[in-house]
């Protein structure tokens, strides 16, 4: 391994230090923050980062744009929860089973679908996810169909006789999410700086060239998929356990697949921190839109009176319009920041640098 400074593209030691500080701060956060609402948003951000990082390995680094990752998210979540609810297998074992099942399924699908390229692969990935969704709807004995599975209680996690956590508050989920996301980021970093990472990127840049350089496309694409699915499945399990409810229309939906891709693209794909930035921007933004906080803030700040026509419009209509705004945002980002926020920022700084010279 070479020293840090060269490995992380475009970054140097200072940001790494900052990252360490940020992680430390995140670990201490629950001790200072009483608002469980804030913790809830943080946990959603974490889950979003984990699934984004997972997708990023396949989509960002290897260039295989799956718009069907909800399939693996759902398989992971369902496996863990079915095992817990019907077989009484504790989730910290079930999660591994979830990963195993998801990876096994992914490898079968990958072997079949990876011969497709470009838009054809995208469509195949959507079809796979839809097959999973409809299957989950129909296998009522296994998945309880459209009614979904409601978790009664997560057994307390014990080592020996010592209860580590009983999962009654959000804090354990917060830490599990945080640790998993750090692992996901670290794994991405490791990948980027390994033979695998080089091979993945070579496949992304030019499959045929990569093939001629001794890279077995089927094997390496499947390896990328497997790595990707590990985190996607973990995110799914974590989501299911945290929300306490799982049903096909939430965990196996096309919406979710799109959301995963969107997190990465908005942050910047094929970069370690792309999914992080994507999640940190998207989750609070959509929450603020959903709960009408933005309109409220505009009114509270005194810019617009609540009783004026515009104020009324903001208060009553903006909450209806949040998906619309989300859509507009998406269009604007794609048109004006096609490389995501990270790419945009990088372009700005490099421009400034050039101007300085």
């Amino acid at each position: 391994m070479r020293p840090f400074m060269h490995n992380m593209r475009g970054t140097s030691t200072l940001p790494v230090l900052l990252a360490v500080v940020a992680v430390a701060a995140l670990f201490l956060l629950p001790n200072f923050v009483e608002s469980t609402y804030a913790l809830h948003i943080m946990i959603l951000i974490f889950i979003s980062i984990i699934m984004g990082s997972g997708w990023n390995i396949l989509g960002g680094y290897t260039g295989q744009y799956s718009v069907g990752h909800a399939a693996y998210f759902g398989v992971g979540g369902y496996t863990t929860i079915i095992l817990m609810q019907y077989r009484h297998i504790a989730p910290w074992y079930g999660v591994w089973a979830g990963i195993l099942v998801a990876v096994a399924i992914a490898l079968i699908i990958g072997t079949i679908c990876f011969r497709l390229r470009g838009p054809y692969f995208v469509l195949a990935s959507i079809a796979v996810a839809e097959i999973f969704r409809v299957t989950a709807l129909n296998l009522k004995k296994l998945t309880n169909g459209a009614e979904g599975i409601l978790i009664t209680d997560i057994p307390p996690f014990k080592i020996g006789d010592v209860v580590i956590t009983d999962f009654m508050s959000k804090v354990p989920f917060y830490y599990i999410g945080l640790v998993t996301l750090i692992i996901a980021i670290f794994a991405t970093w490791m990948l980027q700086n390994s033979k695998l990472g080089y091979y993945f990127q070579a496949i992304r840049e030019d499959q045929d060239a990569a093939h001629s350089l001794g890279i077995n496309l089927t094997i390496y694409k499947n390896v990328a998929l497997a790595c990707s699915v590990v985190f996607t499945s973990l995110a799914g399990s974590l989501y299911g356990l945290y929300v306490g409810f799982i049903d096909p229309s939430t965990v196996l939906a096309l919406d979710l697949s799109v959301q995963i891709v969107m997190t990465c693209i908005i942050g910047g794909i094929g970069t370690i921190f792309g999914p992080v930035i994507g999640a940190v921007v998207l989750v609070p933004f959509s929450e603020a839109l959903r709960s009408n906080m933005i309109a409220q803030a505009i009114i509270d700040s005194g810019l617009v009176s609540e009783n004026s026509g515009f104020g009324f419009f903001l208060k009553e209509q903006l909450s209806h319009a949040h998906v619309l705004i989300y859509g507009i945002l998406l269009v604007v980002v794609i048109l004006y920041m096609p490389d995501g926020i990270l790419g945009f920022v990088r372009k700005l700084t490099s421009k400034r640098r050039k101007e300085a010279i």
Partner: protein, 288 residues
């Protein structure tokens, strides 16, 4: 047997409308290589247009396509010129997300404007039918099937017999070569998207009397359109026509023999198999 014939027939009739949706998508894909995730939402716009023409101006839905087609064409051309055009060279995932975003904007803008109520367009003939040999045939569905055939024939004439049509087909076959041959590819793209939107809008108009209308209705049809397009071979108009009818039949007959819950699985399985083993579509000539 009666059940089988019944489901065959309604499958074929519904399939005609699916074909229109598929043809629209396939032209767009063929010419621009962009997968249009907003296709269903464009169809939804067509439905609302038909609905308001009917309720406000009392224009029969089947007559209203005379208005719908040109309007939707302009709408499609506008979308292409303002949005799609800017991502033609971009990464496929960016194109996909852009069209998804456009779809979200369309469906939610419509929701804000007209609420998310289900709108049901009730004509005198909405639920009329007649019987032949114990098989009932829905009159509006039959009319819409007939119109589909007329439009498809007109479209074939346009694409195969006019210069513009041939230029579109040439662009669909090989964008680069078409450009070298002096075809104004940009213009073709605008026309293609306009055509695609017009066809989707027409399909929307045709199913309005027998279906219902709400802002999110598009998603049902977007996925179907993909399946149809791939089945027929992306970019193949004949293929999409047949693909539409095939999917109509597969859904209808599959629903009977595998249960309607599983019919989508069957449709998507067929879709995957075609993608894998005959990526050029059922009709396409395979290139070794």
């Amino acid at each position: 047997m009666a059940v089988f014939l019944q489901s065959m027939l309604s499958g074929i009739l519904i399939g005609g409308v699916y074909a229109l949706i598929g043809i629209g998508l396939t032209i767009i894909f063929g010419v621009m290589r962009v997968i249009n995730f907003a296709h269903g939402d464009v169809l939804m716009i067509g439905m609302y247009m038909t609905y308001f023409l009917f309720t406000l101006l009392h224009i029969d839905p089947f007559v209203s396509i005379v208005v719908t087609i040109p309007l939707m064409f302009l709408f499609g051309a506008f979308l292409q010129k303002v949005f799609i055009n800017r991502v033609l060279g971009a990464l496929p995932q960016n194109q996909i997300l852009l069209t998804i975003g456009m779809g979200l904007v369309m469906s939610n803008a419509v929701m804000l404007a007209f609420t998310s109520d289900y709108k049901i367009l009730s004509t005198k003939y909405s639920s009329s039918s007649f019987n032949i040999l114990g098989i009932s045939i829905s009159s509006p569905l039959l009319i819409s099937f007939a119109i589909t055939i007329i439009i498809t024939v007109a479209l074939y004439w346009f694409l195969y017999r006019t210069d513009t049509g041939q230029a579109i087909r040439a662009t669909a076959q090989d964008r680069g070569a078409a450009q070298l041959m002096g075809i104004n590819v940009k213009r073709m793209s605008i026309i293609a998207f306009g055509l695609g939107a017009a066809l989707a809008g027409t399909a929307g108009a045709l199913i309005s009397p027998t279906y219902y209308i709400f802002p999110q209705v598009g998603s049902v049809f977007t996925l179907k359109a993909f399946v149809i397009t791939v089945l027929g071979g992306m970019g193949s108009i004949v293929g999409a026509t047949l693909g539409g009818v095939l999917i109509g039949i597969a859904e209808s007959v599959g629903g009977v023999y595998f249960g309607s819950g599983w019919k989508d699985v069957i449709v998507f399985m067929v879709f995957l198999l075609v993608l894998l083993f005959k990526p050029s579509g059922l009709l396409g000539t395979s290139k070794d």
